[in-house]
């Protein structure tokens, strides 16, 4: 019986991974290209004019931010787009009819989102190597923030995908919440370059802590302590996981 449950969960995870892999040109290659364009443009314009943390070149500073931004956005896109497509086309019933628990449902969608985020993140990192000499001072921090960040955005994607009834509602969630929070999280700048008020505002943006902690893994330096960032993102993840699991347990917008 336990093995049957494990097969059910693994099959849903496999299906979710296969779904984005089959359209990998759109789901993996395109975001890598987008990040590469950001890198080429910003590094060309700013690399000779800006240094960060004393002596870190701007292009080197930018790459971890771009990697994490791409990872987060794609983790969100994976679970949210899969769920809303399934809801609108009606094929969500193929996941709701089998004996899968809401915990297995959650874990499969979130892990698949994390995997897509990691694929894209690794892709961005790989295409950046020819342009920048990037140290990796503390790989464990890189991995921890990549995993928790992916899990947070994967959970947010599940919430958005379940909540939204139409594609434009999902686009609103993405454009008016996810995109501003990622763009204003220090991807392109150190918050020490901002006026005090905006530095304070950045400290209530959880995305800032994801990116800052991730960046610490590369340079061994960051705007705030990585332990503080880890604490903030861990609390965010736990809160979102509890909220998502509560929605799934109630069958909110899935089981009438």
């Amino acid at each position: 019986m336990h093995e049957a449950r494990l097969i059910g969960f693994r099959t849903l995870l496999y299906k979710e991974v296969l779904r984005f892999w089959k359209v990998g040109f759109q789901t993996v290659a395109a975001p890598v290209l987008n990040a590469l364009l950001f890198l080429l443009i910003f590094s060309h314009v700013l690399d000779r004019h800006v240094t960060v943390y004393g002596d870190v070149a701007y292009t080197a500073f930018l790459v971890p931010g771009l990697v994490m931004m791409s990872l987060l956005q794609n983790a969100f896109a994976n679970s949210s787009s899969s769920l809303i497509q399934s809801k609108i086309t009606g094929n969500i019933i193929f996941v709701l009819l089998p004996p899968l628990s809401y915990r297995e449902f959650y874990a499969a969608y979130v892990i698949a989102s994390m995997l897509r985020g990691l694929f894209v993140g690794c892709g961005v990192l790989l295409v950046s190597f020819p342009f920048v000499d990037l140290p990796i001072a503390a790989p464990a921090w890189v991995l921890v923030f990549a995993l928790i960040g992916g899990a947070i955005l994967g959970s947010l994607g599940v919430i958005a995908g379940i909540w939204a009834d139409k594609f434009d509602q999902l686009a609103g969630f993405q454009n008016f919440l996810i995109m501003p929070l990622t763009m204003l999280s220090g991807v392109f700048y150190s918050i020490h370059s901002l006026p005090q008020m905006w530095q304070d505002v950045s400290h209530i943006n959880p995305f800032f802590f994801m990116i800052d902690g991730f960046r610490y893994g590369f340079f061994g330096q960051s705007d705030v302590s990585p332990w503080l960032s880890l604490g903030v993102v861990s609390v965010c993840f736990v809160l979102l996981a509890v909220l998502t699991l509560a929605m799934l347990a109630r069958g909110y917008k899935l089981r009438a």
Partner: protein, 298 residues
């Protein structure tokens, strides 16, 4: 003692102001071919959805092969295969991929022998590698049936499976479903094609406004609500109602008779009233007339 295939006790469900299920009690024995009939909005799909876990009932007990669909949902869902009403599919996968994935959801690996058998029975073998988007509507409908069968459920629910399906496919589908029933599977069918229900179902429940308004064997329902029908086309059809007949839109007057012996008195009444018969037919009552009668009385 064997448990019923399906057991529903005092089922209630409300959507806003609409009472979709208003206290449904129903039992379907193992091995039955059972029909669930009713007009649109009667509660058929809500009942099926509550059985399969797609809808959370407000009250009542739902069991599949003795397993409660809420407290023992894993076992209940393993015993149930549902063919949904809507023509839904996942456009990312081929037919075989979909069936393997669906098997996996139910905890089954290495299910290709059974998948091949289902594909062959549903005439889908040649399309096993085709993407779902490439299939015709009828083929997509057959894949839905295949998906409901991959985990070999003892109870199969078909929610209007032949809606929009051509005659040839319909015949093939019923042949296969009959075979499954002969092999011991319990079949629950909802359909608007009453002649299908009459030909296939051993027992029928009729629902109206969330209540069971008739529940009996198909034979008893036909017998109880009028065994025979004398249909005549009259020179002056306007006299038909006065003689106790029902006048159809096509101009035929219909006398509902319990026995063949009632034919002569009906004709005598016509003669006495001076009615001139242009055409006459004598037929068995069909489920459609029973259905209309039950719905009017309820």
């Amino acid at each position: 003692m064997t448990c019923p295939a399906l057991r529903i006790v005092s089922a209630t469900k409300r959507y806003g102001t609409l009472q979709a299920l208003a206290g449904v009690d129903l039992e379907v024995a193992q091995g039955e071919f059972f029909g669930l009939l009713g007009p649109n909005g009667a509660g058929k799909t809500t009942l099926i959805s509550a059985l399969s876990g797609l809808v959370r009932p407000d009250g009542g007990i739902f069991e599949v092969m003795g397993h409660n669909v809420v407290t023992d949902y894993r076992n209940a869902r393993r015993k149930l295969g549902v063919v949904p009403q809507e023509l839904v599919f996942d456009p990312f996968f081929s037919v075989r991929e979909l069936l393997r994935i669906q098997s996996g959801y139910f905890g089954i690996r290495g299910n290709d022998d059974w998948i091949d058998e289902i594909l062959a029975n549903l005439d889908l073998t040649a399309k096993a590698g085709a993407n779902m988007r490439m299939l015709s509507g009828g083929m997509k409908r057959r894949v839905l049936v295949a998906q409901a069968l991959v985990h070999r459920p003892p109870v199969i629910v078909l929610d209007e499976p032949t809606a929009g399906v051509d005659v040839e496919l319909r015949q093939g589908l019923w042949q296969f479903i009959r075979k499954l029933n002969r092999d011991g599977h319990t079949i629950v069918l909802t359909t608007h094609y009453l002649e299908e229900a009459e030909a296939l179902c051993g027992r029928i429940a009729m629902l109206k406004a969330g209540r069971v308004v008739a529940l009996d064997t198909t034979e008893n329902l036909l017998r109880r609500f009028a065994s025979h029908a004398l249909r005549v086309r009259l020179e002056r059809p306007e006299n038909a109602s006065a003689l106790g007949a029902t006048l159809s839109d096509s101009g035929w007057a219909e006398f509902a008779l319990e026995r063949y012996e009632d034919v002569e008195p009906a004709l005598a009444r016509l003669r006495e009233a001076g009615g001139r018969i242009l055409e006459m037919r004598l037929g068995e009552a069909d489920l459609e007339r029973v259905f209309v009668e039950v719905m009017n009385r309820a």
